[in-house]
Amino acid sequence: MDPAGNAFTDLSWVDLLFLGEAAIRTLQISAVSIFVGTVLGIILGWMLAAGNIVVRLLVNSLLDVFRSVPLIIQLILFDSFVSIAGFPMPAFWSGTIVLSVYTAALVAMVARAGIEAVEPGLRRAARSLGMGYWQDMRYVVWPVGIRAVFPSWIGVALSVLKDSALVSAIGYIELLRASQILTTKTQESFKIMLLVGLFYFLMSYPISKAGDFIEKKWQQ
């Protein structure tokens, strides 16, 4: 304790470790949400591209809700709702569910664009060779479509990684929340924010680079 009676402590290695653990939690919640959201989003995108007018209208209006309400409000609403409804769940799970649905809403648009990017002539050619609907989807639409929209999907993944910071609002101790805790403890907000920014960059940069690499490989 210094003469001025300061209750705050200096930033230590233990704090850095605390931030590192929080970064891993950010990665965990993002990875699960991106994975689940992508699978769900591809199904929804397919419904948008291939469904009849009723299906398209239903899916579109549903997705509009998730795209128009700010993510932080969706998180708080869902977290409160499950508590009030008597099924309280750990912040990780309510956060993952909301973030997955939010990701799915974004991926659905990407997936639809991917399916629509495939020339109808290619699909007719596939069918003329005797391929069934799902064979055409698997061997022609999927590989051609994914090449067309892969950069957009990487964009969605990166934005979900960063948006996962909002899960702090329901008490999940990910990177942002951890930084707030440390700031309160040490009052070193500038240094801590710099560190947190660096952590986010270190997580995003490899994803973005891997995306570039795969894209180049596909360009032959």
């Binding site: 020339e119 290619l122 007719r124 050619a125 069918r127 003329s128 060779l129 005797g130 061997y139 090449r147």
Partner: protein
């Protein structure tokens, strides 16, 4: 001889627009039928109906006795017998020439990878691009891509081939190589329906010609007779224009 492909009073509409207004046609085994006529006369649409890519509203289409427009017909199975080549060659851009041709034999017929590749290499050599196996379509000329499309159809070992204006999208200097490939197939005895604007090909290669006018077959008969002495006024005008 019995017809292997037969259309009886086939009618087809897109919404309110009737494009085929009662088509009757017969193709016998080993025969080459050229279908000529102005754009929009329904020639290409008829081809799409023959392999069931487009449904028809009335009439019957039979291929080897199988009714194409019967709901219980397994179209994926039927299409294995009917190769189709398109105006836009539609090569799969993400696959090499060899993979383009090997894909359907592998996934549709269930051949092993190596057996499918063997067939693919054989067919690519057959159409004269056996040196392009590992090249992606983007690096091939239009004529080569169209021959790739022909090889892709042939790899399913079809009994019939449908050509939808196979040379119309090609630069003039590339038309010859594709027509030569089609001539070769005809000389091998392939049964073919060829929608074309190439009157020379229609006259020299096909056995029969059908002239389409506004969704109907206006004149049909032996190629040389019909093209040298057309009876219908519309066909006379059409031939005067394309020559």
């Amino acid at each position: 001889m019995a017809a292997v492909i037969e259309l009886k009073n086939v009618r087809k509409s897109f919404g309110d627009l009737e494009v085929l207004k009662g088509i009757d046609l017969k193709v016998e085994n080993g025969e080459v039928l050229s279908v000529i006529g102005a754009s929009g006369s329904g020639k290409s649409t008829m081809l799409y109906c023959i392999n069931g890519l487009e449904p028809i509203q009335d009439g019957t289409i039979t291929v080897e006795g199988t009714v194409v427009n019967d709901k219980s017909t397994n179209l994926n199975k039927l299409r294995q017998k009917i190769g189709m080549v398109f105006q836009q060659w539609n090569s799969f851009p993400h696959l090499t020439a060899l993979e383009n041709v090997a894909l359907a034999p592998r996934v549709v017929k269930g051949l092993s990878r190596s057996a499918a590749k063997e067939i693919a290499a054989k067919q690519l050599a057959h159409v004269g691009i056996g040196d392009k196996l590992d090249v992606y379509p983007g690096a091939l000329s239009g004529g080569q891509q169209q021959r790739l499309a022909i090889a892709r159809a042939l790899a399913m070992e079809p009994s019939y081939m449908l050509f939808d204006e196979a040379t119309s999208a090609l630069d003039p200097e590339l038309v010859g190589e594709v027509l030569d490939t089609m001539r070769m197939l005809a000389s091998e005895g392939m049964t073919m329906i060829v929608v074309t604007h190439e009157m020379g090909f229609a006259r020299d290669v096909s056995d029969k010609v059908a002239f389409f006018h506004e969704g109907k077959v206006e004149e049909t008969g032996p190629a040389k007779a019909v093209l040298s002495a057309p009876k219908s006024g519309h066909l006379q005008k059409f031939l005067a224009k394309v020559h």
